[in-house]
């Protein structure tokens, strides 16, 4: 463990030699052990104490404690400070220790994962933490990559291997990595053990998609790129096994480099509290100075003469020195304005709120059996102040399940469930899914609700047949069949898988493929098509096509792609069909479905021959190959016949649109940061109602250069400015909405804009000179979507908003790629219950569904904030009322730092007499019920605007406290001074203390808005306990045991027996409380009706109406936007055509399905004859791989 912590000087380049531990040890690279924990058994106490004493408050109390130990100064016993201080330190330490224990546990779990390392020519099981740079390790299918590896060889042909990078960057599609050709032949262990190549590469960095290095082996240089790398956090998929050379380990891996540093999070109230404590400290010093000067003057004028009765202390030789000492004495007495119990109480309240979150049944997910969890207990009230939410997409907003939902075939739309009257019906419980049992090859998990489509298939509608034929042919999915009928599709994107699966269930079963053929079971009959060409997908084309020759010998091109692109390339003859299909597409798009247009084209034999020849020439051309290919593709994909369109639902998590709508109403801005593609992200934006067709404009920033991005941002801003000016409203972005003014709300509604920004553009936009521009633009928009962002960029965006907006940010995500963002944001929320727990481990709160966020914020957050604010207000009030009495008394006791109260009262006041009622209020108080909080999201706004506890509120509390202290002191003074009765110090002390306890109890009764049995018990109990302790402390027994400690013997009975004392207490209570009642009542009577309540209800109703409007509008025509959103990758077509990615075994398996001549296998065998690896036993062993 200790090794992990070693620091290294920054490296300039990294040299790694394979199988040479001794050589590599010279460089002292970080080992593969990761450490996120902070302490160990030995360092815990000193480090933790050091950390705790970095808190201003704790040091302050330590300082006070030291002061109290000086007898000349000590005006209070030392125990008044040390008891609470020790209590606070212990509670915090225990909490830190448990937190760290769990971090140790998770570290250990990761560090002790097993991996197979090649040591001395044989494979040995090693723990991850013992893997060294330069080791060669073997990875098996579905294993996590242990460190950043250089892929040396794999079981697959050509050294290919597939990885899933979801944990790393959130992209869900599989990626291909290929070993360098020289190393890919090192198939077996003995050859690998002799491998002694040396890699020289860049030092560790956090760029996930870049790697540059060189392999020196046998006096040759080979370039290495990211294509050869397997990064830690990835998972090996569809690959038997592979070998890799460890380049970066542990903290140097790109995954770890990308996860931001763990920072201690504080809430804004914490920060405010610390500021206030400093101010109070300043105030304390001022009071101390005033009283010290008073003391100096008094000692000079009066005390000097009074020395016959009261000589100065031996050490005191002048009035000045006496004043100096009295300064410190007063600092000690008056320190209770910031009692240390404040910090304990705050922690206790937050802990209570955390438990309420953990206990909340409405945030429990029954499916995954995961309750919500507050993993950090110190941030609760911040949940009530969130202004920006940064959300991941995949796994957070969506379930990452693609479902074939609807389709339009030859002008008819399928997929809607119609009720008896022919209206669209909602999916109820009664609707039965279509029965696919007739089809033995059907995927049992597939659900479709519209039976008419199946009927159409059965009736033999040629269009429908052609439609599904296209789906079963035009794709790059690989199939695997362990036994007859048990088909598994390996799709590189889930969308494609969904489409092929749909075709499969509708009896067009894609069975197997070879580089030159595709076998499909059409309505139970095996048909083998000859695959002539795959016109691969890329981001510009946004479409893919296949050219196949049917068994009848007809050559046909099948194409699927984005509507915007495809609709232009259709044959003009089908105008009517095009219109109908466009309507359907719009309808689908408006529902947030991902759409694809399908088309075909028959090709003449002669034309195809010509074209194929040109293609061959183009693909072998040395210059401008890409362009020439693109041109050829363009040429053939023209004048196609429209078949229809598909609509795929990227399944949202439950309740996402509703949650987003409610959070938006609560004036929370939601930004989606996703590693996914722009189209996908935008689509999700629409389906979860972040983007709507009502929006004035959606700006899309995709510039590749600084200038382009700047220009695009500027244009967006100008447009917004223009339109708001034309609306007659001033455009305001930077300034916060002034306290819920009607006009500003309207203004925000007036222009609804959204911003979509791309990863590269974001990189430029986040540079120091442009970040403000970007932020201004983004903040003016209702919705912001950043796509293709790296984990670090996510964190940078959050950091940017944090830095300039001074707003509370919340990041929510589920994957390892969200960790940095979760750590950066004020509040990090992890979606739990899914694979991968890194996000949860880094998060402050975790639950399993995005929709719980609204409850977390609007109910728990709001209450926490409210309770904390009420608590703080009352707390400062009660302590000022308590302490300031000493200040006034100073003027009557020769500024001698004599306390008004008994020292036991001072010790117990904050801990016993007044702590529980305010804690009960801080834990249980509710202003409105949870239902109201959800119904009126506007109720959330005071938290965002920081209205309930801020400097102004603080001063009001302080003023009230001082007012109370004045009355508490001067009313008894008026009664007691110079009278015959009870004018002694002890009676006065008891009277003031009793008045104080009663006044603050009445005040807490007034503040408590929600009197549960516990509140009753605590409030009445505290009063009872006060009197009980008072009488006990003043009892004879205690005095006789400790006469010098309990001097107030008999005081309670004697003082409280006098009617005047009770009359004084009553009067003080009345005079302290009645103004507060009057003020509160007037505020309640005058203010809320005028500003808040009426406006709330009006605005909320208005907004809800507006929301209903667009929800209803969903059915109507949407915008012409492309829903094409495949998480496709370029290059798969080529792979398939080359046959590279086909394992012999799987090819062999597919042969029984093909039945017909398998001559191509022979050719392939011949072709691969030289490649011994392909036939090696390890490569041949076949297991069914589930995707």
């Amino acid at each position: 463990m200790e090794l992990c912590a070693k620091k290294h000087p920054p490296e300039e380049e990294r040299r790694v030699r394979a199988n040479a531990r001794e050589y590599n040890e010279k460089f002292q690279y970080a080992s593969n052990c990761i450490k996120t924990s902070k302490y160990n058994v030995l360092t815990f106490l000193p480090v933790n104490l050091f950390e705790q004493f970095q808190e201003v408050a704790n040091t302050y109390f330590l300082f006070l404690l030291i002061l109290q130990l000086i007898p000349q100064i000590s005006s209070l016993s030392w125990f008044t400070t040390i008891v609470p201080l020790v209590l606070v330190l212990t509670i915090t330490a225990v909490k830190d220790a448990t937190d760290d224990y769990f971090r140790h546990k998770s570290d250990n779990q990761v560090n002790n994962r097993q991996s197979q390392v090649l040591i001395n020519g044989s494979l040995q099981q090693e723990q991850w933490m013992n893997v060294r740079v330069g080791d060669i390790i073997k990875l098996e299918n579905n294993q996590f990559v242990a460190a950043d590896l250089l892929l040396l060889s794999s079981s697959e042909p050509h050294g290919l291997c597939y990885i899933e990078t979801a944990e790393l960057d959130g992209e869900t599609n599989m990626k291909v990595r290929q070993a360098s050709p020289v190393t890919s032949v090192l198939g077996d262990i003995s050859r690998l053990a002799q491998f002694d190549g040396e890699v020289i590469c860049e030092p560790p960095n956090n760029k996930l998609d870049k790697f540059s290095g060189t392999l020196y082996w046998k006096e040759n240089k080979y370039p290495l790129s990211n294509q050869n790398m397997l990064l830690r956090g990835c998972m090996l998929r569809n690959t038997e096994c592979c070998f890799g050379l460890v380049i970066f380990a542990g903290p140097d891996t790109k995954l770890m480099q990308n996860s931001g540093r763990t920072k201690f999070k504080r809430t804004s109230i914490d920060r405010l509290m610390n500021t206030l404590v400093l101010w109070i400290f300043g105030f304390l010093v001022c009071m101390g100075v005033i009283l010290a000067i008073g003391n100096g003057i008094w000692e000079y004028e009066v005390g000097a003469c009074f020395q016959i009765y009261l000589p100065w202390d031996a050490a005191v030789d002048s009035a000045f020195f006496s004043g100096f000492l009295s300064f410190w004495s007063y600092i000690i007495i008056l320190n209770t304005v910031v009692p240390i119990s404040l910090y304990v109480s705050v922690e206790v309240i937050r802990l209570g709120h955390s438990y309420f979150i953990n206990w909340d049944k409405k945030m429990y997910c029954a499916q995954r059996q995961t309750p919500a969890e507050a993993r950090t207990t110190t941030l609760n009230e911040e949940l009530g102040q969130v202004e920006y939410i940064f959300s991941d997409k995949t796994g957070t907003l969506t379930q990452n399940i693609m479902v074939f939902s609807k389709c339009s075939i030859h002008g008819r739309s399928y997929g809607d469930v119609l009720d008896v009257l022919g209206h669209k019906a909602e999916l109820g419980e009664r609707t039965e899914p279509v029965d696919f049992s007739f089809n033995p090859l059907a995927d049992p998990r597939f659900r479709f609700w519209d039976a008419s489509l199946l009927e159409a298939v059965k009736l033999g509608d040629p269009h429908v047949h052609e439609f599904f034929r296209l789906l079963s042919l035009c794709h790059t999915v690989m199939s695997e069949e362990k036994s007859e009928g048990e088909l598994y599709y390996k799709a590189q994107s889930p969308d494609e898988g969904a489409l092929v699966t749909a075709a499969r269930n509708f009896s067009f079963v894609f069975r197997s493929r070879t580089p030159k053929t595709i076998t499909v079971h059409e309505l139970g009959q095996a048909v083998t098509y000859q695959l002539l060409a795959i016109l691969d997908f890329n981001n510009v084309r946004k479409r893919m096509s296949v050219i196949v020759r049917s068994p009848e010998g007809r050559i046909r091109l099948y194409c699927k792609g984005a509507d915007t692109i495809l609709l232009e390339r259709l044959h003009p003859a089908h105008h009517e069909l095009l219109n109908v299909t466009t309507d359907h597409l719009n309808e689908y798009a408006a529902e947030g479905l991902r759409t694809l247009v399908l088309a075909y084209k028959d090709l003449e034999d002669g034309y195809y021959e010509d074209w194929a020849e040109q293609l061959l020439r183009a693909s072998t051309a040395l210059e401008g190959r890409e362009d020439r290919l693109a041109h050829l593709y363009e040429e053939v994909e023209r004048d196609m016949m429209l078949l229809g369109a598909t609509a795929i639902e990227d399944k949202l998590q439950q309740g996402v649109p509703e949650t987003i709508a409610i959070l938006t109403l609560a004036n929370i801005k939601i930004w989606v940061l996703t590693g996914d593609k722009q189209e996908t992200a935008v689509n999700i934006g629409y389906s979860c109602k972040m983007l709507t067709d009502d929006m004035t404009e959606v700006f899309i920033v995709t510039g590749h250069t600084v200038l382009e991005v700047r220009e695009e941002l500027r244009k967006a801003r100008e447009k917004m400015m223009d339109s708001s000016r034309s609306m007659g409203n001033g455009f305001s972005c930077q300034e916060k909405l002034s306290s819920s003014g009607l006009s500003s709300v309207l203004e925000a509604i007036a222009g609804e804009y959204a911003l979509v920004i791309n990863g590269h553009s974001l990189a430029h936009a986040l540079e120091a000179d442009m970040e403000l521009e970007f932020l201004e633009t983004a903040c003016a928009c209702k919705a912001v979507i950043c796509c293709r962002v790296t984990p670090l960029q996510k964190a940078q965006v959050v950091e940017l908003v944090k830095k300039y907006k001074k707003a509370v940010t919340l990041a929510i995500g589920d994957g390892a790629n969200d960790v940095s963002m979760i750590k950066t944001a004020h509040i990090g929320v992890g979606i739990s219950g899914q694979e991968g727990i890194q996000a949860v481990l880094a998060s402050d709160y975790s639950f399993s569904q995005f929709k719980f966020l609204q409850r977390l914020l609007l109910v728990h957050g709001r209450w926490s904030y409210l309770r904390m604010c009420k608590f703080l207000c009352y707390f400062f009030y009660k302590n000022f009322a308590f302490t300031m009495v000493h200040f006034w008394f100073g003027f009557f006791c020769g500024f001698s730092a004599q306390t008004v109260y008994d020292q036991y009262f001072i010790t117990l006041y904050n801990i016993v007499y007044t702590s529980l009622p305010v804690l009960a209020m801080g834990v249980f108080d509710q202003d409105v019920t949870e239902q109201r909080s959800m119904e009126y999201p506007k109720l959330y706004e005071p938290g965002q605007l920081n209205l309930l506890f801020n400097k102004r509120e603080f001063f009001i509390c302080i003023a009230q406290g001082i007012y109370t202290s004045v009355l508490l002191f001067f009313l008894p003074y008026g009664v007691f001074a110079d009278t015959a009765l009870g004018a002694d110090y002890q009676s006065f002390a008891v009277t003031v203390a009793t008045s104080l306890v009663i006044v603050v109890s009445v005040q807490i009764g007034l503040d408590t808005g929600f009197w549960t049995a516990i509140n009753h018990f605590f409030i009445w109990g505290s009063l009872a306990v006060y009197f009980a302790i008072l009488f006990a402390m003043h009892s004879n027994g205690l005095f006789q045991m400790f006469p010098n400690q309990f001097r107030f013997v008999g005081n309670a009975q004697n003082t409280l027996a006098q009617p005047t004392v009770w009359l004084t207490i009553t009067l003080t209570t009345v005079v302290c409380i009645m103004p507060v009642v009057a003020f509160r009542f007037l505020k309640l009577d005058l203010k809320p009706e005028l500003s808040d309540t009426v406006r709330y209800t009006q605005l909320v109703r208005k907004k809800q109406r507006a929301q209903h409007r667009y929800l209803r509008r969903v059915g109507r025509a949407g915008s012409r936007r492309s829903g094409y959103a495949f998480s496709h990758q370029e290059g798969f077509g080529e792979l398939i055509m080359s046959g590279k990615n086909m394992r012999l075994s799987s090819l062999a398996l597919s042969s029984f399905a093909t039945r017909s001549g398998s001559s191509w296998i022979e050719t392939l065998r011949k072709k691969k004859g030289g490649d011994s690896n392909a036939n090696s036993p390890s490569g041949g062993a076949d297991k069914p791989l589930k995707v």
């Binding site: 006791c893 009664v975 002694d984 009426v1094």
Partner: protein
């Protein structure tokens, strides 16, 4: 990972939180609201109550009769003499005359009153040893009594500390002129003026066969003229630490101006109902220096009532706050009524939109 989780879930039947009212924050609760009827009625009720109490208090304080004579001014010679501490052993007597126009009936108390005497100073308050005063044999050197704890030869002071040392030691007698020439001593009680708990619990003499032996080995405080066991030679139960004058002095006052009970009129003979009208004279043995620290001494005769002495403060405070509360009640009512019309106006406007 997933498998592990689901296994765990199976082992533990449910991780679902309890559906208890407490955990779901649905505890039944009383939600008080500041409604107009409760607030306004409380204002009027409390206001009227305060007014009533205030008037009673004023009336009762008015009934108190009080005579106050500032003898540190009257006995200027003695004051001067005492300013020089070397004259501590010289006696100085002084008398002050006053006339009662009417009878003072009821319990009459004789007080001494000190001005500008900081009994509430922190160091003064601390300067005592309650253990010593409880008759326990304690090491007073460790107490806060310094510098009045031991003499330089090591003899401890009994009682120790600045409070005890500065005890008020003037003796005051009151004589009544039955006629212009004959005066009789007004009978005054010197015990029974202190709290029972002080006299019986807080202060105890050290136990021994007699008081002087109990205090053997100790010395009187430097400013005292006689040792503690001679404070009241006539009454054994009022001597030593449990001497009433001493006990009362040791109960330090809250403010620098204070009065302590000195004597109580013994209701005997012609004084059975109080002090009759006529001429009186205080005979004062002036021992206690005050002018040095700009202090003043008074002697006071006063009756008491249930509400205390002649202090009008509480009565006035009650009356004023009662009046203000009632007034505030009216103002709030006015504001509330005026506003209520506004509110309905708003509400009516709302649906019309």
């Amino acid at each position: 990972m997933k498998n592990k989780n689901s296994q765990k879930a199976e082992e533990r039947p449910s991780r679902c939180p309890d559906n208890s009212a407490f955990k779901q924050q649905r505890l039944p609760a009383w939600k008080p609201k500041l409604t107009a009827p409760t607030v306004l009625s409380s204002f009027f009720v409390i206001g009227l109550f305060c007014l009533l109490v205030g008037i009673c208090l004023i009336l009762s304080a008015r009934s108190v009769k009080e005579i106050q004579i500032n003898y540190s001014d009257t006995c200027r010679d003695c004051s001067k003499l005492r300013e020089d501490s070397s004259n501590w052993d010289k006696e100085c007597n002084c008398s002050a005359h006053f006339t009662l126009q009417e009878n003072v009936t009821g319990d009459v108390f004789l007080y001494y009153r000190l001005e500008n005497f900081y009994q509430n100073h922190r160091r003064y308050v601390l300067s005592r040893s309650d253990a010593q005063l409880l008759g326990q044999d304690v090491n007073i050197q460790n107490s806060y009594c310094a510098p009045f704890s031991t003499y330089s030869n090591g003899t401890p002071m009994a009682p120790c500390g600045a409070i005890a040392n500065s005890m008020f030691n003037d003796t005051i007698h009151l004589s009544y002129y039955i006629n212009s020439s004959t005066a009789i001593q007004v009978p005054l009680l010197k015990s029974g003026n202190s709290w029972w708990s002080d006299k019986n619990v807080k202060f105890r003499n050290p136990s021994s066969y007699n008081l002087s032996s109990a205090f053997a080995g100790t010395a009187r405080p430097p400013y005292w003229q006689k040792p503690v066991y001679l404070l009241d030679e006539e009454d054994e139960r009022n001597n030593g630490y449990i001497n009433d004058d001493f006990v009362i002095w040791m109960r330090v006052s809250a403010f620098p101006t204070f009065r302590n009970v000195y004597r109580r009129l013994s209701p005997t003979k012609q004084f059975a109902d109080g002090l009759p009208a006529g001429n009186y004279t205080f005979h004062i043995a002036y021992n206690f220096p005050v002018t040095k620290f700009k202090g003043k001494k008074q002697v006071l005769l006063s009756t008491i009532t249930w509400s205390g002495g002649s202090n009008l403060f509480l009565g006035i405070a009650y009356t004023v706050s009662g009046a203000v509360t009632v007034l505030a009640g009216f103002i709030i009512t006015a504001i509330h009524l005026k506003f209520r019309t506004k509110k309905t106006y708003f509400q009516r406007q709302n649906p019309s939109r």
